[in-house]
């Protein structure tokens, strides 16, 4: 009898191990940049999936039933925590029946915790567009904030899986060391353009600009979340010509045609950037590769063009 019971236990244990792919913690991230940091910190001790595609508008993601299944089995849920996912995450979490990731649960991580958010509205008023009550949620475009999130995740992983804590902290240190090195090279690449204004489609690049000394206060959207209108684009064109602004940043899901029209009227350049690893070629699952690509794209677009 003992033998028989043992064999059942071992079958159950091995099937569990297979389903968990030997990972101690199952981590679900709402968007791919948190997944990239979680993978870097968790290493082979965690399995990481994410819900929003790197190429789609993160404000409007479908609450697919498969997401519900992923959340039901998650040990950790990493969300931005600044209302970016407010239109799709709450019903998924409510239906997931998983107290670990419920509000206040041991595995619920709001990445924005401990981060100083920009653009916190003094007054909540939707006539000013789709404002996020907690502030601008695109804080991961400042690499310093990625370091804060890595710290936060290492602490959570250690609390939930103390046995692997040394590995998590070592991974976190390696991540921070690489971040520091890359930070120096990113800052050096963008240093020549200190004070240069840029145009972006949405207010996604405010943290990026603040970190690297660029000025991001001109947007193709007249108000956050409101699509570009011809009168507003005319104003942007006038401002660009007036202040000699040359660069328009566009993400994979944003309307490139409108940016190209503005570029035509201003002699500007439309630059493909993305806030999510995997949204640009060669950046899959890698936060550093993504920032490399973004910084290089912006730097080369800002560089004075040789007359031809």
């Amino acid at each position: 009898m003992t033998l028989r019971r043992l064999s059942w236990i071992s079958i159950a244990a091995s099937s569990l191990a297979v389903s968990g792919a030997h990972a101690a913690l199952r981590v679900v991230a709402t968007t791919p940049e948190y997944a990239a940091v979680a993978s870097a910190v968790g290493g082979d001790k965690v399995s990481v999936t994410f819900l929003a595609k790197p190429t789609e508008d993160p404000h409007f993601v479908d609450a697919k039933p498969s997401h519900l299944v992923a959340l039901n089995r998650a040990d950790v849920l990493v969300e931005g925590g600044a209302d970016l996912e407010v239109g799709w995450l709450p019903p998924l979490v409510q239906e997931s029946r998983n107290p670990r990731i419920a509000s206040g649960g041991s595995g619920r991580v709001a990445a924005s915790e401990g981060i100083q958010l920009l653009d916190v509205p003094a007054q909540l008023d939707r006539s000013k567009g789709d404002l996020h009550a907690a502030g601008n949620p695109h804080f991961m475009m400042d690499p310093e904030n990625a370091g804060i999130v890595a710290h936060h995740l290492a602490d959570v992983f250690c609390r939930l899986d103390p046995g692997s804590c040394t590995a998590y902290q070592a991974n976190r240190e390696r991540f921070e060391k690489t971040l520091d090195e890359r930070m120096r090279s990113w800052a050096a690449k963008l240093a020549p353009f200190k004070g240069t204004p840029i145009v972006t489609y949405h207010s996604t690049w405010r943290y990026f600009a603040a970190r690297f000394g660029l000025v991001s206060d001109t947007f193709l959207e007249p108000k956050p979340g409101i699509p570009p209108s011809p009168p507003h684009l005319a104003e942007v064109i006038a401002k660009m010509n007036d202040q000699k602004i040359r660069v328009i940043l566009v993400e994979p899901y944003q309307n490139r045609k409108q940016a190209e029209v503005v570029a035509e009227h201003t002699g500007g350049t439309v630059v493909n950037v993305c806030q999510f690893p995997g949204g640009l070629p060669g950046t899959d699952g890698d936060y550093f590769a993504l920032m490399d690509a973004d910084v290089s794209a912006v730097a080369s677009a800002l560089a004075p063009r040789s007359a031809s």
């Binding site: 039933p65 299944v69 209302d83 979490v93 007054q123 994979p252 944003q254 309307n255």
Partner: protein
Amino acid sequence: MRTVERCRSPRFAVAVFCGALALTGVAARAEPSAQDPPPKPAAQAAAPVTLASSPSGSSYVNLSLDALFAGGTSSVRDLGVLESGGHDPSQRGFTVQNVETVLDGAVDPYFRGQANIVLQLAPDGGTTVELEEVYATTTSLPHNLQVKVGQFFSEFGRLNPTHPHTWDFVDQPLVNGRMFGGDGLRSVGARLSWLMPAPFYSELFLSVQNGHGETLTSFGSAPGEMVFGRPIGESAVGSPRDFLYVPRYAASFDLTPNQTLLVGASAAMGPNGTGTDGRTRIRGIDAFWKWKAPNADRGFPFVKIQAEAMRRSYDAATSGDLPAARFGDWGAYAQAVWGFRPRWVLGARYDRVAGDIGNLPANPLQESRWRASADVTFYPTEFSKLRLQYNRDARLFSKDADSLWLQFEFLLGAHAAHKF
């Protein structure tokens, strides 16, 4: 236009709103939390709106008000029959379709609570209040179980459990009107659901609800009505046979990273009001498919296809000189909507209801008919919409009809979060 919970007293409406406002005050005072950065003074001036809370929860109650209006006309005047839904356009000119106050939030670590209180203006100008849904769901039961308790829409098919402002058309499908009446199949009771441990989404539901009331058209509906030529009598719960049982199974598969399929099968079984042996059984299947572009901008472009079919078997009991008899009818709809560019959606729907009603006298509420609809919707933001819809109705005995409706919606307060 008939709901047991409705109340025509304007005083009640006022009381509901006073209650809601009182909650606003409570929630607004509770809003700043210890971890939040110190709020700027101006933030407190906007207290009522700060109820629009974050998923992390900045208030005890999320409050929102959704208002849905229609305006337009039809070539016929019997709109109460032509449009089968209680929230459909009810007259030529303007209709207040649905003004819904939603309160929801965490009750404690074990339950979430939600209330949907609906206000409407009847064609005669009177205000009606409807306690559409009020229920609690458990949040931490073991084994992937969840229990919902209260007054709620039965989990049957895809459209029945949803609210009118989430629909892709101005009016509800004909089959829903025929099987479930103007206000949807809903009652007071409990629902157990189990998210099964499968690699794909697979969920079983069982609702047990009171089987009598005005929102149970095919079951113990309002006394005095005539269904399949039979008068409906008084009914109440006397034994387990008098409950409405609604089992449902739903499964979903991501066919590709950009395509998702959701299929379901439901049944509703319970007593009907024709007498002690009167029983009704409705069976239904539903399917929903969605494609969304991998680089969707504000969620566009997308294509959604949705279809439901239902069959009803109605066993009428002996009543007076009428012998016991079985009636059967069915209905279905299929619709496709295409979000062809950000903010813009085109839709088409085909509706059909038919059935064997024996040698009953022609009844406009039960005749065979079809309807074809086309609509275009503009969403300025996710908080408002404007929709134009054309319907072509063909009916076996009654006059055919052409109708044109314009619909407008606005949402105030907490950000709507939509299920799939």
